[in-house]
């Protein structure tokens, strides 16, 4: 085991959190006075060091035998109240190590990219402060060893998400989008914290290890408590991971800077829900009903968001809906019990979706802020490197072998099929077809065909600088190679992660590893997946390259359907009409009548009574000493008379 000044890297796990926090503090307090270069270096170094340390921790963990790969480090008792004891402690196990490497690794790449992307922005130091704080919170979320500390990270990432969506707060739409994200997440967090309370009431502890050890004895299989806990936790996951019905905030979150969309709203934060479900897999396995809910919500979201993605014209919004859809896939995997496959897809998705967002950012940067795909086209020859990396990302998400997305998505579909959930499989497969279609639609509209750029944009369009292209290349490499950590199935990643599944009770569940699937079935499923992806690409090719008039014709022919899809099924409008507006109106009534009239009125009435009393009493203050003297005398006489009578 490699040692560092006499202690193993596992002991240094706290520094993984400390580096980003230090970056936040330094940039936050001094950033205004430092030059952009220094701020950028501090921000990137903080995350880079965290990644290097994470990697060493991972190596350390590999040296242990698989059964011992859990390391807990308690720092101090954070809250001690009665039987509630929340310890600020970190837990290193295969799952959290994979997550911290992903978060700090992808985070580092995006930090570097941001230095180039945000170069001309005035709030440079503010941006890096938020970004470092986000990374800190996300690492805390995945490293926490109890539910409450995880919740702190959970809220921390939500806060940073809000701050960064509304980063350009002088723009009304951006600040509204930030608030929308925050408020919608609050709905989910409410469920999450209720779930934590129910866990505490049931188990009398909130420590992961203790809860998961006690769960099989404490909870009845499929019992009410188990179902309630898992459903409440899942409500939190729905909010954070943008699933139906709380997904509406994510497309609006695209108002933030593009690297933020890549880091927070594609690669890391939005997958926190999936991480949480996998972390609590012991509880979910005890609640088959909740698992069904997870799978159905995941599957339906995957398909639903994919259909919306078909008709959007904003490059980032298409990617946002595709993120919603891909997270749906991850939940689908978790819901059918294939937790490791869910994490596998989470990882590959973080690579290729970060790549796609950063590629989109490069395009937006090159076009001077244009996001409408109808005003792009033919960028291939202006931005060759961006095009090539974007193509790799698109192939990965579409599921073409050997790119990363293929292995993970195929494995999810294979799991669904082999477990007999044909309906779920159908949802997933159809969503995969749509994914391939709309992603290639995006690619063709942006990079191929003839240019639809404005004269001004065309004159200025340029390939991005190296500091933007290098992160793209690294992520492209990961999108190509990333799939092989999970191929062939039941290999590296699944054997590494399997101790996490079932909370150490080996054999109670199969960890989502596909020992039970025959090779023939595996390869035929791969064939089907690839076929689906190619079909999607072909349709996109026919519609957007071969026959560019076709989309408009189809839109005209199925006008009703097109309008509905184009307007995102009017979900925002429905929410506005049923929830937002009634709430606003009720609040208005509460403000104008209950608060202003009743509550303020009550307080004002008391003040008025005192005032009136004063009006009467002031008449006694005449200014004549004689009157006062007479009052004193009168008072004295009255007291004496009274005491004489009473005695």
């Amino acid at each position: 085991m490699p040692y560092f000044f006499g202690c193993s890297y596992l002991d240094l796990i706290g520094y993984v959190l400390l580096f980003p926090l230090a970056g936040t503090v330094i940039n936050g307090l001094l950033g205004k006075k430092l030059s952009k270069l220094v701020v950028g270096i501090i921000g990137c170094t903080a995350i880079g060091l965290a990644f290097i340390l994470s990697f060493f921790v991972f190596i350390d963990l590999l040296h242990l035998s698989p059964a011992d790969r859990v390391f807990e480090k308690d720092y101090f008792t954070w809250i001690g109240s009665g039987s509630l004891e929340a310890i600020a402690g970190l837990q290193v196990d295969p799952l959290s190590v994979v997550m911290i490497m992903m978060v700090s690794g992808v985070g580092f790449i995006i930090h570097v990219y941001s230095v180039g992307y945000m170069q001309d922005d005035d709030g440079f130091y503010r941006y890096f402060t938020y970004l470092n704080l986000f990374t800190f919170s996300m690492l805390l979320l995945v490293l926490a060893n109890n539910f409450l500390l995880m919740f702190i990270g959970w809220e921390g990432v939500g806060l940073c998400s809000y701050l960064l969506i509304g980063y350009w707060f002088e723009k009304k739409s951006a600040s509204s989008a930030g608030m929308k994200a925050f408020i919608v997440n609050r709905v989910g967090d409410f469920g999450f914290i209720l779930g934590i309370m129910l866990i505490f009431v049931t188990f009398n502890t909130i420590d992961f290890t203790e809860v998961f050890h006690a769960a099989p004895e404490h909870l009845q299989m499929g019992g009410f408590i188990a179902t309630m806990i898992t459903l409440l936790l899942f409500v939190g996951a729905i909010g954070k991971s943008a699933q139906i019905p709380l997904y509406t905030w994510l497309p609006d979150a695209m108002e933030g800077p593009t690297p933020v969309s890549a880091l927070i709203h594609a690669a890391t934060m939005v997958t926190a829900g999936v991480y949480m479900v996998v972390r609590c897999n012991v509880l979910y396995t005890l609640a088959p009903f909740s698992l069904t809910v997870v799978a159905v919500i995941g599957g339906v979201t995957a398909l639903f968001a994919a259909t919306i993605g078909l008709a959007q014209n904003d490059i980032k919004r298409v990617l946002a809906y595709s993120t919603v859809s891909q997270i749906g896939f991850m939940f689908l995997a978790c819901g059918i019990g294939a937790y490791i496959t869910g994490i596998f897809h989470l990882l590959t998705h973080s690579f290729f979706k970060a790549l796609l967002f950063l590629g989109a950012g490069s395009v937006i940067h090159g076009l001077g802020g244009e996001q409408d795909m109808r005003k792009m086209g033919g960028l291939k020859k202006y931005m060759p490197t961006t095009y090539k990396t974007f193509l790799i990302g698109t192939l990965a998400i579409a599921g073409i072998p050997p790119f990363a997305g293929f292995f993970s998505k195929d494995e999810i579909l294979l799991e669904a099929f082999s477990k007999g959930s044909f309906l779920i499989w159908g949802l997933g497969a159809f969503a995969a077809l749509l994914t391939a279609f709309y992603m290639f639609r995006l690619l063709f509209m942006t990079f191929c065909g003839k240019s639809n750029m404005s004269k001004h944009a065309e004159a200025h369009v340029h390939e991005s600088p190296m500091i933007i292209l290098i992160p793209l290349l690294v992520l492209a490499f990961l999108s190509i190679g990333g799939g092989f950590i999970g191929f062939p199935t039941a290999s590296a990643i699944s054997s590494f992660l399997s101790p996490v599944i079932g909370g150490g009770h080996h054999g109670t569940v199969d960890g989502g590893s596909l020992h039970h699937v025959s090779a023939g079935m595996m390869f035929s499923m791969m064939g089907i997946s690839t076929g689906i992806a190619i079909a999607g690409i072909l349709i996109a090719y026919l519609m957007y390259i071969k026959n560019p008039d076709l989309p408009a014709k189809i839109a005209k022919k199925f006008k009703l359907i097109y309008t509905i899809v184009y307007n995102k099924y009017y979900v925002d409008e429905i929410y506005d009409a049923t929830i937002v507006n009634p709430t606003v109106k009720t609040s208005f009534i509460l403000w104008r009548i209950v608060d202003v009239r009743i509550i303020d009125g009550f307080v004002n009435a008391i003040a008025r009574i005192v005032e009136l009393k004063g009006e009467v009493l002031k008449l006694f203050q005449t200014g004549y000493v004689r009157n006062y003297a007479f009052s004193i005398l009168l008072g004295g006489v009255i007291i004496i008379v009274c005491s004489l009578i009473l005695l």
Binding site: K618, G623, V625
Partner: protein
């Protein structure tokens, strides 16, 4: 020996004269003297009871009252002089600005 009642009646009469003087007089100096009269009426009552009860408590009280009265006279006269300097009068009916 003169009976107790006479002393008390004298004290009561002096006190009443003082009180009535305070209420009806307009000159601040006279009001002030009336107040002194009331104080001394009380002193007389104290002395009377002190003798009657064979206790020194009443006489000690009188010393205190005399001390306080001396101090009060100093402060009070100073105030009256200050008012006179400002308003050229010590008529209390003209000194009525301290009101709402």
């Amino acid at each position: 020996m003169i009976p107790l009642t006479w002393y008390l009646i004298l004290s009561g009469i002096l006190f009443s004269i003082g009180a009535v003087g305070v209420l009806i007089k307009r000159n601040a100096i006279v009001i002030f003297m009336c107040i002194e009269l009331m104080l001394n009426a009380v002193n007389l009552a104290f002395i009377t009871f002190s003798r009657q009860l064979n206790s020194m408590d009443g006489q000690i009280f009188v010393f205190f009252i005399m001390t306080v009265a001396a101090a009060e006279a100093a402060v009070g006269l100073a105030i009256i002089i200050a008012i006179y300097r400002n308003k050229a009068t010590v008529n209390v009916d003209d000194i009525n600005l301290m009101k709402w």
